[in-house]
Symmetry: C2
Subunit: 392 residues, 2 copies
């Protein structure tokens, strides 16, 4: 037998950089942003191939988009379209059909998309998650540009590093961590969102404000009416601040979530369960608002924050037009929620880690929750269901 061979230690860091750009009318001929991003032709003169994938819900409201893209790209010397844009269904349907992943992989093959080409996705969070996933696994990663078109995707999902699809009904069961090459938020897309999608994404901004930034929470309180009345100025400001905080969180923490803590999941354990129970008829952001309301009341009942502060949170959600209760939460003496907590732990693995509030603007991680208090919190929300709060 050989002399013992000592273990070989491997250790390296992989640097990632990308920028999130803000604009309006990205593909208007006079808008230089996308052209500038792609830059000059390479020394070898090879054009960069672009493959666009578009959310059908976006196309329905922006029917001239493919033509605008074709004309715009024709004016970029360093780029060519690999093919006509690929249309995929918008919303959760994009993530439920494995055939769509195959279709995108086939396109990569068919159009000769390589690791120096770009797959550009235009759509809501669901379409971005699908396309980001396909781009991440094809050739072990093709460059990917995200153009998010909803509030939620512009301020949260689209500016981060995760992608994924559902597997046999299990949400995000498959996916990767894969930073985009770039993100471009075009505020014009927001104008065609329906009421619910306009509102839903605001919940993520309330979330980061509550766990990290009291001043931002106060700004949201001050602009709640404007936001509820679809003021685009207020919305673009909200998105910018929320996206920035989200990105800072990623870079200062554990970008690929190798540990167990996920403070940005404040309010999300109940939200995930509620999305399931309602078969996703409740939007992610709508569920998050309810989940935050629940964990805020819980924080109060656990003696962490004042009743007055909890009421401010509920009040701002109501001003924004959110419902703060759903009957599914209370079914079987909240047995649904009990299971939701277990599933949340299983999904993250390791010890249960839940974020609560220690003050407005200050989250805190805890490792267990009292089920009696959860039930009380549910009761409180159900009793005021659809009755406006007033801050006393």
């Amino acid at each position: 037998m050989n002399a013992v061979q000592p273990p070989l230690q491997q250790s390296f860091s992989v640097p990632f950089t990308y920028a999130v750009h803000f604009t309006r009318h990205l593909f208007a001929p006079e808008n230089p942003l996308f052209r500038d991003y792609l830059g000059q032709p390479s020394p070898t003169g090879q054009a960069k191939k672009l493959l666009f994938v578009i959310d059908s819900g976006v196309l329905a409201h922006h029917p001239t988009l493919p033509d605008a893209i074709a004309q715009y790209v024709a004016g970029i010397p360093s780029a060519i379209l690999a093919a006509d844009p690929i249309l995929v269904p918008g919303g959760e349907a994009a993530k439920n059909d494995p055939a769509l992943v195959d279709r995108l992989i086939d396109a990569v093959d068919q159009y000769g998309i390589d690791r120096h080409s770009y797959i550009v996705a235009i759509g809501g969070g669901a379409v971005l998650d699908l396309v980001g996933y396909a781009a991440a696994i094809a050739h072990r990663g093709v460059r990917h540009i995200r153009i998010p078109t909803t509030v939620l995707s512009q301020n949260d999902s689209g500016v981060g590093v995760k992608n994924g699809v559902n597997y046999r009904g299990k949400k995000n069961f498959i996916g990767t961590f894969a930073p985009p090459a770039a993100v471009i938020n075009d505020a014009h897309f927001l104008t065609t969102l329906d009421e619910r999608d306009w509102r839903a994404g605001i919940a993520e901004a309330v979330k980061v404000a509550l766990i990290k930034d009291l001043a931002f929470f106060e700004w949201i309180e001050a602009h709640a009416e404007a936001l509820a009345h679809r003021d685009t100025e207020a919305m673009t400001e909200l998105i910018y601040r929320c996206a920035r905080m989200h990105m800072q969180h990623i870079s200062s923490g554990d970008p690929f979530e190798l540990g167990s803590a996920r403070p940005l999941d404040f309010g999300h354990w109940a939200a995930h369960k509620l999305e399931y129970l309602t078969n996703f008829s409740v939007r992610h952001g709508e569920a998050v608002a309810i989940g935050i309301a629940l964990d805020t009341v819980y924080s109060q009942l656990a003696g962490r924050i004042l009743a007055h502060d909890a009421d401010r949170v509920l009040h701002v959600f109501q001003q924004l037009g959110f419902d703060l209760f759903h009957p599914a939460l209370a079914e079987n003496e909240s047995e649904n929620l009990r299971r939701g907590l277990t599933e949340f732990q299983e999904h993250l693995g390791g010890q249960l880690t839940i974020t609560l509030l220690d003050a407005l603007g200050q989250g805190i991680e805890v490792h267990d929750m009292d089920f009696g208090l959860i039930q009380q919190a549910v009761g409180r929300l159900s009793s005021v269901y659809s009755v406006p709060f007033s801050v006393g």
Copy 2:
């Protein structure tokens, strides 16, 4: 319109660490390595779930392995088996069948494997590539331990950061970069390899030696006879040195291959083509030996290295028992090779980048190849096909 919102710049590094361990008879009751690796039970007392996946070719030669694993794991207080080991076909078949990926994802679901559980793969490079891929996409990454059982996987593929499966016959078309939690090389497995698999992996060691380390090349020359006669001492030494160089290369360079250069692909452009042309009846390592021979002769014809040095390379391969030519290379006036060069460029994307030799132990990157010289090199290899070289 709002004031212009400046872009938000994101920038972070993700640190990865893992160790490659060397042992024999990993699951013998008295071997502490695996037990020590898993460590003490967590403070919460939760056992770590282990899901084993075994290469059917390994099982055929090591039929008691599942029992040994069951007994061994029963003796680790901090771990439990999630299920009986899953068997998958060995060799390229593992990577050609999408149903196998689904089967592994299903197992993750069915057995409640979370991001703190471990999927442990035991097998050749193909099985490790399959299981590594499934582990990387399930829950966006479940912890993964690799136990490579071939020379190639112990000294090259198994100690790196890549995984992947084939897609409609396209080799490694889908995959990710995902470092393992740990790698354990058990030399006992090597004893049951057939002649071809014993030999094939040695080509990767010749490769790193030629481009990086003259002393290692001379060591291989000195031990070529011993290696050809299945001397395990020599083989474990070769594997250790090759694995170390491979790992150093990864950590000192561009681990996730975000650029175009891949110096470790010396000899691989022709090798990949040859694997295809022969429908993978030529093993990866066998093809790499031929590819290295070709690019070595090319380096000589291009005036980069001496004829004597090129002969040393061909000679050592012949001592090791490698064939240095395959008729598919010369078909249609080497049109196959011309296409191989283009495909290699397309796969990497961007500018063509090929590694040649500037001396034994010193690779150099070039950005074009002279097709006339390639044909001459092919002619040279074909003329000496199966005729032993002597170093004059």
